[in-house]
């Protein structure tokens, strides 16, 4: 039988599903059936759906493993499956044309996978797959052999810092919570990932939910809590589904519930769905939301670790933070702290997006130079364009300009450069990106997501946005840049919560590194040719062949010209949609 010891793994993370992962799995089933090896599908030929494996740009990714020899295929579509089954599975000749190339291997070469080590290789819906890979061993070790204080000591020694953005030492937080003299304590996993372009937490929960649950069990034991919550966005249906299944499986296996693993320790986890408010990622707003209130932050102090959910001591950690915990316990604090820099230990998961060839989910050791992420892992900029900047930390973060690419990626260095690690969004910007427009985009987001409670954030970000709006429309006034700087500084200082305190960062960091672009806008030019109101489209005489493509594409009939003769754009009628620019094969349409 040809299918002996055959394993097929199909990426069924959100990226994989969007690219057609479910259809690919169905195609494999059908093809194997018709190939007459149906009877062995269940027993000998294992077909797994696995979570996100990182290189979403090349989805659907499929591993075919025969007798432990693995071939990874990229861009797989259902109609390609029959050839793989015929040539590879039946005839044992891998379809080399469709296999991943060097860029796939380079993508992984400089990565270091701790949190993601099981993501993309195990079936996230199968608790046994996690257990077979030493899953829940860490929880067993902690619950049966360690005192809570010893578990906290181990996490402290590892140097693990919160992966949600602020980078607070996890062990210290747990220790403070442990010391609180309270009958009821809570532990909350913050899975309310909301940064535009970020999908780290989502991928971890979709790819390996049990690691997060195990981390929470260990945390709960350490601080002395019997009740946990996972606060997760309702917009992550797949993550929610897999998390719920994982929780129910963990309960069935006795990792959750009463007297876990024969100890006196009881702990259970509830899933709480967020309604999509970005501000609910802020811990006090998240607590208010769990309590059934409108998600509005409360002033700190008191911090949640002293007075959190329903006034009780509460530890809130991010998904990735919890997912690190079992691996730290399994391999030891020393192992974990051997990665990273002096103050930023371990690894960090990033969602690498934007104008980059290999966009996807990556995990790198802290301190890796940004250059290695962009060029070695990311494969460089798409379309041979010039890199302009890397935006990190989402709406709370800032930009690292191209000439600072050697900045190490860790909490301290990014902060020094005027940005933040944040929760792990990393958006690559090239020469076609306008930095004022980028700042405007993020401000639009934060303004819309401001909870409205405090004045600087509610009205201040609105005013910032209005100033940016007029700058990008060529209506900026002298002194606007200075006004942006002044108001930004005041909003940062006076806002109630992290949302407002960091909302002006995209403006401040772009002014810091790209002041010339702001100044150019004030003079009526958008250097990257992005801001519509500042653009003029015209046709270059020497390149125009008179093919008429632009004329046909123009929705506002702004283009005139006879066949095979020079065409012209009437600027009074042109709506600057760019349709002519996109269709012209001769690069005759210019915008500036």
């Amino acid at each position: 039988m040809k299918a002996n010891n055959t394993v097929i793994k199909v990426c069924m993370g959100t990226g994989g599903i969007a690219a057609g992962g479910s259809e690919v799995i169905d195609a494999f089933r059908t093809e194997l059936n018709t190939a007459g090896i149906a009877a062995t599908v269940e027993k000998n030929c294992l077909m797994h759906k696995v979570g996100c494996r990182g290189l979403c740009a090349k989805d659907v990714l499929v591993d075919v493993i025969i007798n432990k020899e693995k071939t990874t295929y990229q861009y797989i579509k259902p109609e390609m499956v029959s050839r793989i089954v015929k040539e590879h599975i039946i005839e044992n000749n891998p379809v080399i044309d469709w296999a991943v190339g060097d860029d796939y291997h380079n993508f992984h070469k400089k990565q270091l996978k701790v949190v993601l080590s099981d993501c993309g290789s195990i079936d996230p819906e199968d608790i046994d797959a996690y257990i077979n890979g030493k899953g829940y061993e860490a929880a067993r070790k902690v619950l049966t052999t360690l005192k809570p204080e010893e578990a906290i000591e181990e996490i402290k020694a590892s140097g693990l810092r919160g992966r949600g953005g602020a980078g607070f030492p996890t062990g210290v937080k747990w220790e403070v919570a442990r010391k609180q003299n309270s009958k009821q304590k809570y532990i909350i996993c913050n899975a309310d990932e909301g940064d535009p372009g970020a999908f780290m937490d989502r991928s971890v929960i979709e790819g390996n939910p049990h690691a997060v649950i195990e981390g929470m069990i260990i945390g709960a034991y350490a601080i002395g809590s019997d009740k946990g919550y996972v606060y997760i966005r309702a917009e992550y249906p797949l993550a929610v589904e897999r998390l719920r299944k994982a929780l129910s499986d963990a309960k069935t296996k006795g990792f959750l519930g009463k007297d876990i693993l024969g100890t006196k320790f009881s702990f259970d986890i509830k899933v709480k769905l967020g309604a999509g408010a970005f501000v609910c990622g802020e811990e006090t707003a998240l607590i208010a939301s769990i309590e059934g209130q409108r998600g509005m932050p409360r002033a700190k102090p008191p911090f949640p670790v002293y007075s959190g959910l329903w006034g009780q001591p509460t530890v809130i950690n991010n998904v990735e933070t919890f997912a690190n915990v079992p691996y730290i316990i399994r391999n030891g604090a020393k192992w974990f702290s051997s990665f990273g820099t002096e103050k930023s230990k371990g690894t960090k998961v990033f969602a690498l997006t934007g104008k980059i060839k290999n966009s996807g989910l990556i995990e790198v050791p802290m301190g890796i130079p940004l250059r290695e992420i962009i060029y070695d892992i990311g494969g460089g900029i798409e379309g041979g364009k010039l890199l302009k900047a890397v935006q990190t930390g989402g709406p709370s973060g800032g930009c690292i300009p191209a000439d600072m690419l050697d900045t190490p990626v860790d909490f301290e260095s990014l902060a020094k450069a005027g940005s933040i690690v944040g929760s792990g969004g990393m958006v690559v910007l090239d020469e076609d990106n306008c930095m004022v427009n980028m700042a405007q985009y993020f401000l639009q987001f934060t303004q819309m997501e401001s909870c409205g409670k405090c004045v600087p954030c509610r009205i201040g970000t609105k005013r910032l946005l209005e100033i940016l709006d007029r700058i990008t429309k060529g209506k900026g006034k002298e002194g606007d840049i200075e006004l942006l700087e002044k108001l930004s500084a005041d909003i940062k200082a006076a806002s109630l919560c992290g949302l407002g305190q960091t909302a002006p960062n995209p403006i401040l960091s772009t002014i810091k590194y790209f002041r010339n672009e702001y100044e150019a806008h004030l003079k009526g030019k958008c250097p990257a040719a992005v801001c519509k109101e500042l653009l003029t489209y015209y046709i270059l005489e020497e390149f125009c062949k008179g093919c008429g493509a632009c004329l046909r594409a123009c929705p506002s009939k702004a283009i005139t010209g006879e066949k095979k003769k020079l065409h012209k754009i009437d600027p009074a009628v042109c709506i600057k949609c760019g349709a002519c620019f996109d269709v012209c094969k001769f690069k005759a349409v210019k915008k500036e």
Binding site: A277, V279, R294, M296, R298, A299, P301, P302, Q447, M448, E449, S450, C451, G452, K453, C454, V455, P456, R458, I459, G460, T461, K462, R463, E466, L483, L487, D490, A493, A494, S495, L496, Q501
Partner: protein
């Protein structure tokens, strides 16, 4: 007790005291807008920010509990600059129609704008415009003047236990409104009006009846029920134009719809000021003695003719316990019947 210094002055206060309250004890003034002493702290207006040694960013004094050895500074050029920015931001989204605003002269926002000398505004821009007016009978809700301090939401929830209003929407569009933005349909106690620091919430019947400066305040007791809340009648030209209650009264300044809005009877032409006796099918004014004599004669007559149980007495919830006691005593011993009842049916 916790020892701390504020602006160099040392004070000892009970644990749990906020920095704002500690400053008050030292007679140090800190500007506030969203803070209300009877409500839980909010921390939204950001005016009460102070600097605390060792803390990198300003903290709101209304939410921050004191801690041992804390060194607080309540006014620095940086803090005053931030306060000015906050006020300018609020005023950039405010109608600024103080000349015709009911609240002028009694408005915290106006007061602060005056003290901070805000004439020009660096941040002019879009202002919230709400076309729809609330059609409820009592409370004028001019939400364009609302600064979202949240006091009305809190008083409705924490004091009144009603929860008729809450925050809705996000960002610049945030507003306070009843469910689904319907017209307010609550018990109309007007507590929200009482705590509103601006002209966003006022009594509908107060409109154009006089400025605070022309008003004579007269303290009295509410006669609507036996609770006996303290009222302050705002009188202009011998006419009650508004009713409020002071915070240092036993009812802590809280009132119900009747006490606050039910005063139009005072000057009503239909109001009975003297007893009337119907003679020849017409009511005629009489003196109290005349009326009481008439009643007692009639009661006596009925009692003799038909027996005491042919008479019943019904007293009012507006009476005090003592008055109700006297009434039943009168029915039982004076008339000789147990037929006595009270209109309050809860």
């Amino acid at each position: 007790m916790i020892k701390l210094t504020i602006n160099g002055k040392t004070i000892e206060v009970a644990e749990g005291t906020t920095v704002l309250d500690a400053a008050k004890m030292l007679n140090i003034e800190i500007p506030t807008l969203c803070h209300h002493p009877k409500l839980t702290p909010f921390g939204g207006c950001r005016l009460c920010i102070v600097e605390v040694k060792g803390v990198p960013r300003p903290l709101t004094s209304c939410t921050t509990p004191v801690s041992e050895g804390m060194e607080v500074t309540t006014s620095t050029p940086a803090l005053e600059g931030l306060r000015k920015t906050v006020l300018e931001l609020i005023l950039s989204d405010h109608p600024n129609d103080c000349m015709v605003c009911e609240k002028a002269g009694d408005c915290t926002l106006q007061e602060l704008a005056y003290f901070y000398g805000i004439r020009e505004n660096r941040f002019g821009g879009e202002r919230r415009i709400y076309g729809k007016k609330d059609g409820n009978p009592f409370i004028e809700r001019d939400m364009e003047k609302c600064i979202l301090c949240g006091r009305c939401v809190k008083v409705c929830d924490e004091v009144q236990g009603v929860g008729a209003i809450d925050f809705a929407y996000r960002g610049f569009k945030s507003k306070i409104c009843p469910t689904f933005e319907k017209d307010l349909d609550c018990e109309f106690c007007g507590q929200c009006v009482a705590v509103c620091p601006t002209g966003a919430l006022t009594g509908k019947m107060w409109q154009l009846r006089g400025r605070q400066k022309d008003i004579k305040e007269i303290d009295t007791t509410c006669s609507y029920c036996g609770t006996g809340c303290n009222l302050t009648l705002h009188v202009r030209q011998n006419e009650v134009v508004r009713v409020t209650s002071k915070e240092d009264t036993w009812n802590e300044g809280w009132l119900c719809v009747k006490g606050r809005f039910g005063y139009s009877f005072i000057n009503s032409p239909d109001r009975l000021k003297k007893p009337l006796i119907k003679r020849n099918g017409k009511f005629e004014e009489a003196s109290w003695n005349e009326a009481l004599d008439y009643i007692s004669a009639k009661l006596r007559e009925i009692k003799e003719k038909h027996g005491p149980d042919s008479i019943a007495g019904l007293s009012s919830a507006r009476c005090t316990n003592e008055e109700n006691y006297l009434f039943q005593k009168f029915m039982r011993t004076g008339i000789g019947t147990n037929n006595v009842d009270h209109c309050a049916r809860l």
